[in-house]
Amino acid sequence: MGVDGQLARLRRELGLPDINVVNVMKRYKDVTAIDRLNLNIRDGEYFTLLGPSGCGKTTLLRAIAGLIEPDEGEICMGGRLVSGLSPEERGIGFVFQHFEIFPFMTVLENVAYGPSIKGEDPDDAEKKVYEALKIVKLLDRSDAYPKDLGASGLQRCGIARALATGARLLLFDEPMGAMDPKIKREFRYELRKIVKDEGLTAVHVTHDQEEAMVISDRIAVMRRGKIMQVGTPLELYYQPNSIFVANFIGEIDFLDGFCMETGKKGCAVEIRGELLLNTCDQRWKKGDRLVVGIRRENFHLELGKRIGRNKLPGIVKRSVFVGPYVRHHINLENGYTVAVKEPSGMAHSLSPGIEVTASFRPEDALVFEYPENLIDEMALD
């Protein structure tokens, strides 16, 4: 790591934010794409904007890049106001979903484009280009034309091209959107490695929550133009602040009911079928209408019907083998359905119709206030 990387680390430790988005709003005709957003992205961070299609994440990214001008609000980078600056003046690198590689230039010429525009010293430029190609592992294909490259090759070229400009901030717009799932899963790790090894800051847009969880330092979950929650992957996963976020990330089952009693540890929720669920959430009082969410891998299965707190008896509908884990779909006695995920090595072998009981620990229960419109809260758009 060179001086720049060390500098970046220093700034991070001092907590100096690198990108500030302040009260930014953008409207298209009668649709508000982004609605007074505020966001701080730290230097050297791998930050992801995650959300369903149409939530405004791409609009926000493009506003940061300067490809769109917000109607209201400001954007600052490194303490400098960049609103009003065109993309070529912001010193960013942008990687597109559909690559946008110049078709009439070779890989080398594509990557050299940025430095050549700046009129750099040819030797410096050549070194930069070489470095960039080495980082993305495309050195042996520098004379190839885009039409001879596959999706991952084209994207590497796009990344190299952005790197060669010397930009310290990389913006990724669904960079793996056009790739096969298998290649996508391998490319993610490489992408993060490149950003981290070079000490860069990255803002990444995706609708794939698994991708976001794997690749990010922090994630902002967006929906319909607003930011729902910002946090590390673990924070979002185990402490979601809304049903939408809990549902959007990972797999979860919801059971709704009323707070029956409050104790020192947390409240107990009664759900349909007079089943009582202990939780560790102390925010509620008796009579509150609540929704309890349990991550599917946090269910434990026992054979036969058991009665007790946090025990949900039911019948196996079907079991699906999904490789590293098995998903059992259970029809609960009280009419609800849940799915239980067990690692394959430890999974029960269950045929449809067998009686089982799904249970969970109180500390694994996520409790939310019952929303006005539960269906809308649980919707994935």
């Binding site: 490809l67 980078m77 993309p87 070529e88 010193g91 946008e100 525009i117 009129g119 091209r161 400009t165």
Partner: protein
Amino acid sequence: MSGDDQSRRPLSRLVSIERLLSGGRFRLLGDLLTLSFFLIIVIGPTVYVFFTVLDWNTIHTWVFADPFTGDTRWQMMRSALALSFEIAGVATIVDIIIGLPMALILARYQFRYKKFVDTLVDLPMAVPTSALGFSIFLFWGTREGLAGLLGMDSGLLSRGPLLVMLAHVAFTYPYIVRSLKAIIIGIDETYEDAARTLGAPPITVFRSITFPLMTGGLLSGATLAFTRSLGETGATIILSGVYSTAPVLIVSWRQMLQIPPTAFLSMILVSIAIILTTIVRVVMRIRGGTLGRVWPRFERSLSRPRMRVVRDAFVVISFALIVLVPSVFITDYMMARLNGSPYTGQREAGVIYQVFLAPDRKWDSLMDALVTSLRISVLATGINLVAGLPMAFVMIRRKWGTVKSILDFMIDIPLSVPTAALGFSFFLFWGNAGLNLIHPGFWLVAVVHIAFTYPYVVRTLMAVIEELDPGVEEAAATLGAPPLTVFRTVTLPMLGPGMLAAAIMAFTRSLGETGATIVVMGLSRTVPVLIVDWVESLALPAASFACVILMGISYCLLLTLRYILGWE
């Protein structure tokens, strides 16, 4: 952050100039220049003829109340207009009937010589219309053609509306097939796949799915063909005999220096063109297609493989007979007459004698005319590329809302106005009745050619620019390039083939134009006009020679165009 780094490095000089010129004020200036060119050089003179109507009294006298002929001129106008419309209407309908299946075949099927057939279909467009007219006249109207093969003494058809109609069917055929083919290709084939898996036989698929999705394209293609036919002069002059279509009337009155009625008729034609264009635009906004009643069993039988063979045969035969053969028959005629008449053996009736050896020095006139034609076409094409490219960008990229729709509509006007009327309006605008700057002769012809090829260039470029993925330009911007640099280093290279295509289209169109040229040429001659002259003076072998030369040039250009497009 990187901003500091950038300012420390020296910028390449060219890029820094481009950065400067990309600024808002320069862009505004550029837009203004582009629009001014369009309004002053192209549109203004086209509609100028309306102003002459201000002198209503003169017009009224000449047209309706002439002391000697009464309202004869008005009657002549009416019948000429009626004839023009009739011919255009029938030609368009016939073209649709024989052209639609051809468009389907070219759009959907793959077969061995497809590119070759594709190019053949374009042939009538490459042939200058006077040459085409001459060829058709020979084929259908004299014993040298089809009649001779059938053992008849004189031609099958005599000069008149029917012959004109055949010519019009031939040269508007490529327009219809091309626009339909583009539309059909644009319709996602999977719609048709989906319909078939749902149980619809091919003809039902066409009727209920493909055709409704095509109606917009069909309408614009038909309108293009219709207005092209309405305005055609060259072939019509040769073939119409004693009848007159409107453009022919303009030409003859102009030659007799009867200005006021010419102005009036021109004005009528320009108005018609504008009205037609407007109607089409309005109609295009209406949705198309309903399933209607379904007759699946009947259509099922029509879709059987045997029927397909019948349909294909129909397409090929009609294409060959009506479009292809007459267009090229002229070469055969010329070859037969190289050294003399095949009947009498007279040397004086041979091509070589008439062109090279006769005392009136036809070869010299031909060379002069060729030089003039080429100079004008190159000039018109070149200027239009420079002025039309920014216009095409403005139309596709700027977000000007209603202004753009108005401009879009106006661009089509020089295209739809019959060139004779266009020429006449220019004659008035730039000449004595207007600015008094340019008089009949080379430069007036050049200016007119610029005007009517402008829409070709702009429209072709618009189509190419629309295809251009804006993402690549965005990528260049994020890499640090100001807009003008993006244009030079990324957009232009990707536009290259498209620009060449636009240039060739404009060039060929200009090369073959007759109507407007006759009206404004003064003493200059272009080759198409020369052909008309020679046909009228019955120097047919010489005329055929000139035709073949002109056709050869045009066809070579067209082949080049195909070759370029083949890259994509």
